[in-house]
Symmetry: C2
Subunit: 121 residues, 2 copies
DNA sequence: CATACTGGTTTCCTAAAGGAAAGCAGATCA
DNA sequence: TGATCTGCTTTCCTTTAGGAAACCAGTATG
């Protein structure tokens, strides 16, 4: 804490990390991608189910699902039932996000608790 | 993967997680908060240093630093040198984000590698 | 035949994110 | 006395995110 003054910060290992998180955030940006992935981690669900459970508008849901498909995190499954039913599911690749989502979840939970305590005090 | 069809998804543990990540994302939203925290994890830095190292505009940097201060993740230190110098540093609370940032960093790095491999192939 | 469900799309709108550039006060340096 | 650095702020602008509501085709179901 005291006198933690610095090397120049330019041209350092720092930039490698900045680049990595930028790449990650380019995929996970916005309000909805992580919530959608979380919901689908509980099972495969249909469009309207996701819409209702997450509280996302159909327009955004449609767009975000396409983005997630593009990044190979989600798959759209069409079943030839009658009538056709459609389900979204996570790809195996989405499982690589587990640590990200778990730590975010955990942090959010404790942060909420911390904020509650402060505002109540 | 096959037949992972679902319980209703409503009123379940899922919502707890949705709530937590929403709380986390409310604090860490946008393109810049995490990059700023990463930079400051390498030491305390001044406004223009951050501006140059991260490639963020002064307007955004100013705004994001205020947000981060508000959430008690960053502190603005004014030193009575002559002339006054100002440094930003992380609070101890910011350390609780370590897992979040590390996993995001790691995921971004491997994701970049994966994408590179695909586009080259 | 009417109603309702699914899986979306479309249109309209507002607000927020974010960049570019200029400016500004205070101090220092030549 | 200019020029230059710092730590910002201000203005102007474009893009994106996101919500609300309506709509639509296809398939039921009553």
């Amino acid at each position: 804490m005291t006198e933690n003054h610095h090397q120049p910060l330019e041209g350092k290992e720092c930039h490698k990390h900045l680049l990595s998180v930028r790449d990650a955030l380019d995929v996970l940006n916005g309000k909805w991608k992580i919530p959608i992935i979380i919901a689908l981690s509980f099972g495969n669900y249909r469009f309207k189910e996701l819409h209702r459970a997450i509280g996302i508008t159909p327009k955004m849901l449609s767009k975000e699902l396409k983005d997630l498909e593009m990044h190979e995190l989600v798959v759209r499954n069409v079943y030839s039932t009658n009538p056709v039913s459609i389900e979204y599911s996570l790809t195996p690749y989405a499982a690589t996000l587990r640590q990200v989502i778990e730590s975010l979840d955990k942090w959010g939970e404790q942060h909420r608790a911390r904020v509650m305590k402060k505002t109540t005090a």
